[in-house]
Symmetry: C2
Subunit: 436 residues, 2 copies
C-alpha cells in the first residue's frame, strides 16, 4: 500500500515558510496583548462534550463539532472554540484569582466544514478576555486591544472598521419597540445576523415568514426594515435612543474616539452567532473589497463562568482567526520580508580536518550565530545551490587552508562578494547583518 | 446541570504560571536547535489512521491511539507521535526540498494511557530531524543538538547521560552471533528493551521462554546474558566488535568525545520501542536518582519517507517530551525566576480624569512598557493586593494631582519604596528594571 502524502482534508501542513509567517503573526499578537497586561494560558484540545451542550450555539455542537467516545466511554469533543474552556478554567479557581483577570491564548480549533466549501477545518484563534469588570472600562480596553493588534501589524485605520452593537439594545428593539414574542425575536435575530449575505428580496421574504400573519398585515415588516436601516444610533427612534443600552453604546463609541480610535461605528447588523453574549458585541471588518468580511468578533458574556456553579464573573472578550488575519496582512501588503533564523550556511571542503572545522562552527554558535552545515563531501556549487534554495544569503567556506590561517571566506550569495576574515570578525559581521 | 471545571482526564490546563514555564522551556529549545540551522514546521493534529498502521509499533495503534470515524466516514487518529507526519511532509515535496533538510517541531501528542497509572494523555514533544545525510555526520549533529538543548537549559554533563546503541549491531548479535531466528530475535529485542524494568530472575525466565528449548538446553540463555553484560563495545566478543556497525558506533562515540561531549556511552539495553529504526539509536537519561529515566530518544530511520512511494531519504531524529524535561529542570534547580511580562500595575485614583490617564497609559505602552490597569473606582489597598497576587512588583499611581503635575508615583510593592517622576523617567526606570 502506498500511503497518501496529503494532510487530513481541510487542514494545513505548515512547511517552514508557512510556519515562519504564522510565527511572525503570533509574535506580533502576543506583543500587542501583553502591552495591556494579558497573560497567556492554554488547555487540552480535548474537552468533555458536556461543555459545549450548555450555552453555545446549537448548530455548532450538532453539525460542526468533532465528537467521539473515548476508550473509557467518555463523550469527548475536539474544541470548536475557546470560550467555554476559559470559562471553565476561571470557574475552577474562582476564589483564588485576582480580578481584573486578563488572559489570552492562541489555541487551534476544529470545526467539521464540508470540504467543497473550501473552508478550513483547523484554524488558530487569538482569544483575549478580561474578567471582573462590570463597567464599560472592559469593553473599551478589549476593543483597544483588538485595535492595537491591527496597529502593531502596520494596519492603517482605513484598512479595517470596528462595528459595534448591543444585545440588550436589540432585545429592547425586538421586544419593547417591535413587540415580537420570544420565538419571533429569535428568528429575526438569526436573520439579521445573515442580513448582508442575503439578497434584499429574500431577506424581506424571510422576515415576513418570521413574524405572525397579523403582525405582518399591520405593517411590522416595514417597521423592522426601517429600524434596520439605521446607520447610527441617532437614526433610531427617540424611545429606543433613551434606552440605557443605547446610551451605554454611545458612551463607548465616544470614548473610543477620545482614545484615538476613529474607525469604530454602530452597526445594527452585528448580532454575533453565539447565544452567550449579554451586552455590547463587536466585529472588525476588513475594508478591502477582496476580503470584505468579519475578521474578529467578540462581546460581553457575563453568564458563562456561572454555569459551573460558582458566582458569575462579568466578562468581555474576542476571538481573531489566523487565516483571515493572514489574508488581511497579505492583501494590504503589510508583511515584512521574513528571513530564516539561520545566519549562514557552512561549506566544509574536502580535505579539511572535520574536528577542527567543527570546533570553529561551535565557536560561532556559542557567539549566537546560527549555522547550518552542508553535507561533507559535496562540491562547492552544490553548497551554493542548497543555501540559495533555503533562502540563506551568507556562506562560510572552510577548507584546510582557511583553517590553518584562521582566515575564513564569507561569501554573499546574492551579490557574489567574498571577504576573508578571522572567525571573530565574521561572527560580528553576521550579527550586524541579522540586526539590519 | 452543573458543569465540571476539571480538564479532560490525563490532560493539563495551563494557567498563566504553568504556561510561563512552558514558554520558557520552548523558547530555550527553539534557540538551541536554531543554532544548528533547524527550521520549525507544523501539521494538523488529526491524521488519517493509515499513517500509523504502516510501520510504527503495533501496540501504539491498537491500544493507545485516539481514533474515531469523522462525519465523512474517514478513519482518523489524533497523532500519537510526529515521525510519521514529518515523513509524510518530506515525501510530499521529496523533489523540491534542499538537503540536508533540518526541521523541528514542538507538537502536542495524545496517547490513551490508563488514568490510574497517573500518566499524561497529552504531552508536547520537541521533534528534531535531519534528512539527506547517510554518513554519521547526521548522528553526530543530532546528538550534538540534543546535548545543546540540555546545555542551554543550564545542565551540567553529570546531570544526564547519553546512551547509544545500534539496531544493526543488535541484529548482527541476535542473528549471526547468537543464531536466533526472526521470531526469537523479535521477542528477545522486546525483552531487552524492558531489561532494567524487570527483576533479574523474571528477566531470565522470560528470556528462557523466548528461545526454543533446544537452544536453551545448549546454554544460549547464558550466552545472551553474557553479551548483555557488556558495559562498553570492547567488552563484546571480537567477532562482534569487527562488525561494521560496531566500528561505526565506536567512531560516533569517539567523535562525540572529540566534540566535547564526554557523557555519551554505549548501552546495549537501548533498543527504542518503534520498529522503524534502522541504525544507531540513542536515549538521554536523567542521572538524578528521583528521575532516573529516559527523557529523550531517537535514532536513524532511513525507511519511512520511502513508504510514501518516493525514493527513500536517510533520516536521523529525536523526540524530547515536555513533562520529563520540566521534571529534569526542576529536580536539578535549573529554573530561573520567571517574571510576568507585565512591567507595572496602574492604579487610577477616584477623581482622576480617565481620558487623561488613558492617554499617559497609551504613551507608556508605545514606549514598550507593558501595563495592566486596575479596575476604576477601587481603593489603593485593593490595587496593591491585586498587583501582588499577580506577581507584579511595580505600581504606578495616577491621581488628578499626579496628572496635573506630570509627577507620577512609582511604588515598589516589595520594598514599599515610592518615587515621583515624569512619565518618560518612569518608563525608562521600568525598562531598566525589566532588563536587569
Amino acid at each position: 500500500m502506498t500511503l497518501s502524502t496529503q494532510p487530513y482534508k481541510g487542514a494545513r501542513d505548515f512547511y517552514p515558510e508557512d510556519k515562519r509567517l504564522q510565527k511572525y503573526l503570533f509574535a506580533s499578537l502576543r506583543k500587542s496583548v501583553e502591552k495591556y497586561g494579558y497573560e497567556e494560558y492554554d488547555a487540552p484540545i480535548l474537552e468533555s462534550l458536556d461543555l459545549y451542550l450548555a450555552k453555545t450555539g446549537e448548530e455548532i455542537v450538532n453539525e460542526q463539532t468533532y465528537t467521539f467516545t473515548d476508550r473509557g466511554g467518555r463523550q469527548v469533543a475536539i474544541r470548536p472554540e475557546m470560550t467555554p474552556t476559559v470559562s471553565r478554567m476561571v470557574a475552577a479557581r474562582r476564589q483564588e484569582l485576582a480580578y481584573p483577570l486578563r488572559w489570552y491564548s492562541i489555541p487551534n480549533l476544529w470545526r467539521y466544514e464540508r470540504p467543497q466549501r473550501g473552508r478550513l477545518r483547523e484554524h488558530w484563534q487569538l482569544n483575549v478576555d478580561i474578567f471582573g469588570i462590570e463597567s464599560e472600562q472592559a469593553e473599551l480596553e478589549i476593543i483597544s486591544v483588538a485595535n492595537q493588534v491591527f496597529k502593531d501589524l502596520g494596519a492603517k485605520p482605513d484598512m479595517y472598521q470596528i462595528k459595534l452593537n448591543s444585545r440588550q439594545l436589540m432585545d429592547a428593539i425586538f421586544t419593547d419597540y417591535l413587540g415580537l414574542d420570544d420565538a419571533e425575536a429569535h428568528s429575526v435575530a438569526k436573520l439579521v445576523d445573515r442580513m448582508h449575505k442575503l439578497e434584499h428580496a429574500a431577506f424581506v421574504a424571510q422576515l415576513d415568514a418570521a413574524i405572525s400573519p397579523s403582525k405582518r398585515e399591520s405593517g411590522l415588516t416595514e417597521k423592522i426594515l426601517a429600524i434596520l436601516a439605521a446607520k447610527k444610533l441617532t437614526d433610531l427612534p427617540q424611545e429606543v435612543q433613551q434606552h440605557a443600552s443605547s446610551r451605554l453604546l454611545q458612551t463607548v463609541l465616544d470614548d473610543l474616539v477620545a482614545a484615538g480610535i476613529g474607525n469604530a461605528v454602530f452597526d445594527i447588523s452585528v448580532m454575533r452567532g453565539f447565544d452567550y453574549y449579554t451586552g455590547i458585541v463587536f466585529e472588525i471588518f476588513d475594508t478591502h473589497p477582496d476580503n470584505n468580511r468579519s475578521m474578529m468578533g467578540g462581546g460581553r458574556y457575563d453568564g458563562l463562568v456561572g454555569l459551573f456553579g460558582v458566582e458569575p464573573v462579568p466578562t468581555v472578550g474576542f476571538g481573531l482567526g489566523d487565516a483571515t488575519l493572514a489574508n488581511f496582512v497579505e492583501l494590504h501588503h503589510l508583511l515584512p520580508k521574513l528571513p530564516t533564523e539561520t545566519a549562514a550556511y557552512v561549506a566544509v571542503l574536502d580535505g579539511a580536518d572535520v574536528p577542527t572545522a567543527s570546533k570553529i562552527i561551535r565557536e560561532f554558535r556559542d557567539e549566537g550565530v546560527n549555522l547550518a552545515v552542508g553535507r561533507y563531501g559535496r562540491k562547492l556549487q552544490e553548497h551554493f545551490k542548497a543555501a540559495e534554495k533555503k533562502g540563506i544569503e551568507q556562506l562560510i567556506i572552510l577548507g584546510q587552508k582557511e583553517l590553518d590561517d584562521n582566515q575564513l571566506v564569507l561569501k554573499n550569495l546574492a551579490t557574489g562578494q567574498e571577504e576573508r576574515h578571522g572567525m571573530t570578525r565574521i561572527a560580528s559581521l553576521l550579527q550586524d547583518h541579522r540586526r539590519a
